[in-house]
């Protein structure tokens, strides 16, 4: 037997490979606690169905998740008034929004709902840093969370006409004399049918249809419909045509959105995006076509498409095919380390500082500055800059050096599964806890290099490794390729 043969510590629960793929892709990080929950539910698939079925069962509990920042409850008028008075800039509302998203992803038991919320909130992306969106951005995210497991059409209607989106893409002040094309273009290019399926005349017609949906900027920030700003006259967007004679174009807009939601090009685009996010950067055309057909057959309902996706052999065989993006790295790392994050009291509290860590690794939640939403493919995030930034973040938390306030890190002694344990067994316990899988010879070897210890070394609370060397061991787990995968 090789000197570096791995040991097994079965008391720390893990899942089979295919179950791990399902739970890991539909959560922000597998932990022993989550693995136990999955096993209690009767397996990964049963857990997933239960997550879907019970996502909204306890609305008060949902609303209370990481509800730690009072300014998340202010309405547009209050945010504006506080900004005008110099009490608090609207940017602070957005910073706390990003923080709450991170905290929520770490603590929520509704992991599937939160994963799908991020997916759709990124699809209908309204960057937190965009001008004027702060007044409406918090309720915008909540609208999407409430619909994240419903139908695409419902999401589309809610997102495209939401004041946050109207403000972001210039529709809020579009006029019939000079329709602003920004929202009309992104509606076709990003939200629905996708590039290559429409022409410039379709963009112009979509922009004309959208005229009238406005926001009272710089005063009340109320959204309203303005018939006198609505462009009238015949319009055609792809196969959707209308005389558009009335100055009230609201119903017309709703019908256009319904048409686009049900368009086969939209079905294909959503199917591809889901497959790329959950299966691999390069899913098969057959899988995309199958998911698109399910989408159309179910009147744009999302769950049947997801169910078809997770049932596909391509999904079940896709272990190791997806790279964690920067904020996912941060969230998964906190979950893996079992750190307890408390409500923030001061700037240096962990719940406040995590946002800077996500930015340092590459990007805070919903901060991608362009309307297309952040990429989730490996090519985009696998840069040397990201590698160095992840290494730095992993090192900060491996030692519990930053953040230091309002967080309880697991102590090295608490990481020992038994009072006396060999390094070989300890590494298996850590591998199960942090990577969600058994240790390998290669992992054990690299942990021996990181600690300069032999595999048979007996570790107790008095060993130098526990006394002061533990960050190198945790670092070796966090910097490992397994921890970069989701």
């Amino acid at each position: 037997m090789s000197r570096y043969a791995p040991a097994r510590y079965p008391a720390t629960p893990i899942l089979s490979t295919s179950a791990r793929v399902l739970v890991s892709r539909f959560s922000f990080g597998l932990t022993p606690t989550l693995a136990s929950e999955v096993l209690r539910a009767g397996g990964a698939r049963a857990w997933w169905e239960k997550q879907i079925a019970t996502a909204y069962d306890d609305p008060d509990g949902l609303a209370a998740e990481a509800d730690w920042w009072p300014n998340q409850h202010y309405d547009a008028a209050t945010i504006w008034q506080r900004q005008q008075a110099g009490t608090e800039g609207s940017w602070a509302v957005m910073a706390n929004y990003g923080r709450r998203l991170l905290a929520r992803r770490i603590v929520t038991r509704r992991q599937v709902l939160e994963v799908m919320t991020e997916f759709w909130e990124s699809h209908f992306h309204v960057p937190l840093g965009a001008d004027n969106v702060a007044f409406w951005r918090v309720p915008y995210g909540e609208e999407i969370r409430q619909r994240a497991l419903g139908t695409f059409e419902d999401l589309l209607q809610a997102a495209v006409l939401h004041p946050a989106m109207l403000l972001f893409l210039g529709n809020a002040i579009s006029t019939k004399a000079h329709p602003n094309e920004n929202l009309g273009r992104e509606l076709l290019e990003l939200h629905t049918v996708g590039i290559g399926t429409y022409g410039e005349d379709d963009v112009k017609a979509a922009a004309r249809i959208l005229t009238g949906w406005r926001v009272d900027q710089w005063k009340t920030w109320n959204a309203y419909y303005s018939p006198r700003d609505h462009w009238t006259g015949p319009v055609q967007v792809m196969g959707f045509a209308d005389a558009n004679a009335a100055t009230d174009g609201q119903d017309l807009t709703r019908r256009l959105l319904s048409y686009l939601a049900h368009h086969p090009a939209t079905a294909e685009r959503i199917a591809r995006k889901l497959a790329q996010h959950f299966v691999s950067d390069t899913p098969s055309e057959a899988l995309v076509a199958r998911l698109a057909a399910v989408y159309l057959a179910n009147d744009t309902a999302i769950v049947p498409v997801l169910r078809a996706l997770i049932s596909s052999p391509e999904f079940l065989g896709s272990a190791g095919r997806k790279l964690r993006e920067p904020s996912a790295d941060v969230v998964a790392t906190y979950r893996a380390l079992g750190a307890t994050i408390k409500p923030p009291r001061i700037d240096s509290s962990a719940a406040n500082q995590m946002l800077w860590q996500a930015k340092n690794v590459g990007l805070g939640p919903m901060e991608w500055p362009r309307p297309d939403g952040r990429p989730t493919d490996a090519q985009s995030w696998a840069t040397p800059l990201r590698a160095l930034a992840s290494m730095e973040f992993h090192w900060q938390v491996a030692g519990g050096w930053w953040p230091g306030e309002d967080i309880v890190w697991r102590t090295p002694q608490q990481w020992l599964p038994r009072p006396r344990v060999s390094l070989r067994v300890l590494v298996d316990h850590l591998s199960r806890t942090i990577h969600g899988r058994p240790s390998t010879e290669g992992l054990l070897r690299s942990c021996c290099v990181a600690t300069n210890l032999a595999p048979e070394t007996v570790i107790t609370k008095d060993h130098p490794l526990v006394q002061w060397g533990f960050p190198r061991l945790l670092g070796a787990l966090l910097d490992h390729p397994n921890h970069y995968e989701r």
């Binding site: 002040i173 006029t175 090519q379 840069t383 040397p384 090192w395 290099v449 002061w468 190198r472």
Partner: protein, 432 residues
């Protein structure tokens, strides 16, 4: 850390052998492994801007075989979002410009360096001395051969610059060539699609941050780095390449880190800070031959502002101030550096109802530095139309401009970099 049970014959990555020869030493990592100061620096850097920093630096080092003559550097500055070329270089001699832009037009009297047709936006003032010295030129009515109004598709088309092929390599990657020694190919930051391809590249935000955290004086035998090198040695996929490139580049960037940091001589803007890092890297002479930088926030559909203030003035001033500071800071190294700006598309001729402009087509490109025949405006002016949908038509394919830079400042073949494209003469570079 040291231990009572050292491992004889413990696995050591060959690359790391030299570093691992240090004797065992006491380690007090818990206090020193990551200093508080570094943490605070990181925090400060992140706190500067609320959104992701809009200026990003990428660097690639080509093989000596791909670029002979060795020392020339081409800096490609991308104006992301679609800059308004009709405001940057104003066609004051075209009367339609003034009727089409009732609130946005720049009065002729405010323009810098005017000739009978064009003049520079007043916020470009920091570049005026270089313009007058013949070191900055503008080529107008450039762009893609066919209009593409999608930010993302247009950027990709411009940066791929090889229409009709399915290859995912950018034109800058083709400048580098494929025969690149991985140890010489430094990769530091976010990569534009112009750099996608087989030649590795490095990207960074700040040279001083291009280090491996924890691989410090408290870890004299590099236990952390050696363990990481083992784990990633044979890992496939983009992240495997990225981690290995990072580990290699960190050591090779030493000379650049040793070059004086003169950030304080640059404007305190995202682009200014990024250009300071570019200058320091060039002065450090680590062999970088293609450098890319982004400046964001050019997508001004709403409230672009007037001649004296507003978003257009701010972005234009940031651009000019950073370029001027960059060439000043380069000193004698400026003689080997050529900068070119590019944007995915221009804006519509007629302003919209929101005090901004929508996505258009033709645009202006600036060239500055070594080999540029500056102090004048290039390109054939097509004349403006003033309909709601009117674009500035493109009369010079952007690849014709880039081809002159490639031909005169690199030894790459323009036929390889822009396959199937026959450049037209622009005449903006010397040595053609």
């Amino acid at each position: 850390m040291t231990s009572s049970t050292p491992i004889p014959g413990s696995p050591v990555d060959p690359v790391e052998l030299a570093a691992s020869a240090a004797p065992e030493a006491a380690c007090d990592c818990p206090t020193g492994g990551l200093s508080r100061r570094r943490v605070l620096q990181g925090l400060g850097a992140a706190g500067v801007s609320f959104t992701v920093g809009s200026a990003v630096v990428g660097i690639a080092s080509p093989s000596a075989a791909a670029v002979g003559g060795g020392d020339n550097v081409v800096v490609v500055l991308s104006l992301r979002g679609g800059a308004d070329g009709l405001a940057l270089v104003v066609p004051h001699g075209d009367a339609t410009y003034y009727t089409a832009r009732p609130t946005l037009a720049i009065p002729k009297a405010s323009l810098l360096a005017p000739d009978e047709m064009f003049g520079l936006h007043p916020a470009l003032a920091p570049l005026l001395p270089m313009w007058q010295a013949g070191q900055v030129a503008a080529v107008h009515a450039t762009g893609l051969p066919v209009a593409n109004r999608s930010h993302f598709a247009a950027m990709e088309e411009i940066e791929d610059a090889s229409p009709g092929t399915s290859s995912r390599t950018g034109w800058l990657n083709r400048v580098l060539g494929t025969d690149v020694d991985p140890l010489r190919a430094i990769a530091i930051g976010d990569l534009p699609s112009a750099l996608y391809g087989p030649a590795p590249s490095m990207s960074f935000n700040r040279l001083d941050d291009a280090v491996i955290a924890g691989d410090d004086k408290w870890d004299p035998t590099h236990q952390r780095r050696r363990a990481m090198a083992m784990q990633w040695r044979s890992k496939g996929g983009p992240m495997g390449t990225a981690v290995r490139s990072a580990m290699t580049a960190v050591s090779e960037l030493g000379p650049a880190r040793a070059a004086a940091d003169r950030r304080d001589d640059f404007p305190a803007t995202d682009l200014g800070r990024a250009m300071a890092e570019v200058s320091r890297t060039i002065r450090g002479n680590v062999g970088a031959q293609v450098i890319t930088i982004d400046q964001g926030d050019w997508d001004m559909h709403v409230s672009a502002g007037g001649v004296a203030s507003g978003a257009m003035v701010d972005n234009t001033a940031e651009l000019a101030g950073a370029i001027a500071a960059f060439f000043a800071d380069l000193g004698p190294d400026a003689a080997r550096v050529t900068l070119v700006t590019i944007s995915e598309f221009g804006r519509r001729v007629v302003e919209n109802g929101s005090g901004g402009t929508d996505h258009g087509w033709g645009n202006v490109m600036f060239l500055a530095g070594a080999g540029v025949k500056g102090g004048r405006y290039y390109g054939r002016w097509p004349g403006l139309a003033g309909n709601l949908d009117s674009d500035l038509p493109v009369t010079t394919d952007y690849r014709s401009v880039l081809a002159e830079v490639v031909a005169t400042r690199t030894t790459a073949s323009t036929a390889t970099v822009f396959p199937g494209f026959a450049p037209q003469a622009v005449g903006v570079m010397t040595g053609l």
